[in-house]
Symmetry: C2
Subunit: 334 residues, 2 copies
């Protein structure tokens, strides 16, 4: 696939360089590590730090979500690969204000290992307390009985939003871990893949599907889904995704939710809003109260074609945190 790049081995570093230069009032690169990006805003004393990260290629996730009301720092890995412990550790040291740091990351073996190692080192080397929330929103990736095996996908946006807002509101580390875990427990996502992306270094498609096929539950690095079949209409696909979510996490009439219809890269906003239309109709039929909606590219897989639906159930605490303002290079909420 054609790409506007220079050297395939330098895409991540060049992206970071452009990003830092485009948004100097928002973000800066740590001198200690060129894969650690931290907020450029003055840090609030006594605030628990929020650190996110993971592989590149999911932009705006995760890099784009550093700023007021979201994360204080991000550790940036290579494409679809976890960052090593170093950039995580360096960022931890810089954003810690004595109240500890919360790590938010998706449930992938590499991330679990590297963030875990960084957390141990932060404690050992600097005496910094680290809390962790492992994002496991992807319904398709394991049955409910093994929710701890599920992968994290676009729903991580909600968990970051909740934790970022809570940390600004003065939550202590243990309270932050608790509310972020609640956000994860209350969040479910289901995706569909249509067309593959390709890694700059290999140029090979991340998966193969026929000209008229889709794959339900396909992971956002191309991990196998739960069902391949003929491409259906937007309404049929959306109904399937939402139904799977609601079967996994029943939501009663009168309950409040926030919805994200997320594009994987090359799927247009037109298609995402057509899907949202169906999500909205289904929630309305069930008497579920739609508190707020996000539609767009929030967590992509390079130029993959497809979309996901994420739903987070809201209690009053989560609703207030979701409504909190945010100001990041790739996400602003008034």
């Amino acid at each position: 696939m054609k790409k506007l790049i220079n050297n395939p081995n330098h895409v991540v570093d060049e992206m970071i360089s452009g990003y830092i230069k485009a948004h100097p009032n928002h973000v800066k690169l740590l001198e200690e590590n060129k894969r650690s990006i931290v907020t450029a805003k003055p840090t609030i004393e006594g605030k628990v730090g929020v650190l996110i990260g993971g592989g590149s290629g999911h932009e705006p996730a995760f890099m784009g979500y550093v700023g007021d009301g979201m994360a204080d720092a991000v550790a940036v890995g290579n494409i679809f690969a976890s960052p090593p412990p170093d950039p995580i550790l360096e960022a931890t040291r810089v954003i810690d204000k004595g109240e500890g740091v919360l790590y938010i990351y998706g449930n992938y073996a590499g991330d679990v290992m590297n963030f875990g190692m960084a957390a141990d080192l932060a404690d050992l080397e600097y005496g910094i307390e680290v809390g962790t929330v492992l994002v496991t929103d992807d319904v398709a990736s394991a049955p409910i009985e093994e929710k701890e095996k599920r992968r994290g996908i676009a729903g991580e946006f909600f968990i970051t939003k909740v934790a970022g807002a809570a940390s600004e509101k003065g939550y202590k580390l243990n309270e932050l871990v608790s509310v972020a875990n609640k956000a994860n427990d209350y969040t479910r996502s289901m995706g569909v893949g249509l067309t593959p992306c390709s890694l700059p270094q290999t140029g090979q498609p991340s998966f193969e599907l026929g000209e008229d096929e889709m794959e339900i539950g396909l992971g956002h690095h191309g991990e196998p889904g739960v069902e391949k079949g003929k491409l259906q209409t937007a309404d049929e696909v959306t109904e399937r995704l939402v139904q799977d979510i609601l079967t996994d996490m029943p939501i009663s009439s009168g309950e409040k939710v926030v919805v994200l219809v997320n594009g994987l890269g090359s799927t247009t906003k037109m298609e995402l809003y057509i899907m949202f239309n169906k999500v909205n109709e289904m929630l309305k039929e069930k008497g579920i109260n739609l508190h707020r909606s996000y539609v767009g590219d929030y967590s992509t897989s390079l130029e993959m074609g497809g979309a996901s639906v994420s739903i987070m159930k809201l209690d009053d605490e989560l609703a207030e945190l979701i409504d909190h303002s945010a100001d990041c290079p790739m996400f602003v909420q008034k």
Copy 2:
């Protein structure tokens, strides 16, 4: 190409329906016309109305830019087709507060005809004064001697941003026309196309290019560009685009600019930031002062692959208007 849609004939109406339901605090549909979307916020008395519009398929343009600090209304056409006069006229009537309405649209025959007709009817039928700014930022579409023949592309974002801010600051209609025309005079864009999009109704690619080809200056509906050739590196392509802009509109060392690196649909944010990196380097070398940067999908062509660079020269007035806050469903600036 695979698309998540229902009936290809209903994509625009279903998109609008989803859009309105996703953002009820921001936008509403006019009862009088289902292709007229207006701001849901209370209108400021005495404010000149700002109306944008054009074909669908360019989302976030134009639909996504209705809200505080941007447009008061949008008239939505079919995919890549101008809206007819009706939705323009109805929206004009609703957003006029006695001070007149400014129309902003790209220089395409259909838009010129339909917005022109709506302006005449607004005057004749309702006595509403309408001012117009025709966006002509695409350097590749005609030589400088015939700038009035140039098409409008992603640079329209700047003109809308400037006019929306100025109207909130209390500019009268003639002042608004004047500052919006200045913004257009000071804006240049150059694009590159890599891969086509396809219209939902035909499924046919919007243009053809070889597996290793790019086209400089390709229009955002697939209009022929100025040069086809082998795909070059991001740095080479960006250098060409920026050089063409600076040749067309010389900018002196010490002058201030705002930059937009815009994705056409399926080009990743990673690639856009890599391109931005080069834009930034070139401006720096020339001593040009980068006041603010936008990088992302601001005006797409469905899932087309490619990007454009837009540069607007800033005097103090334009810089202040660009820095003004905005709050729209698809664009928020603090």
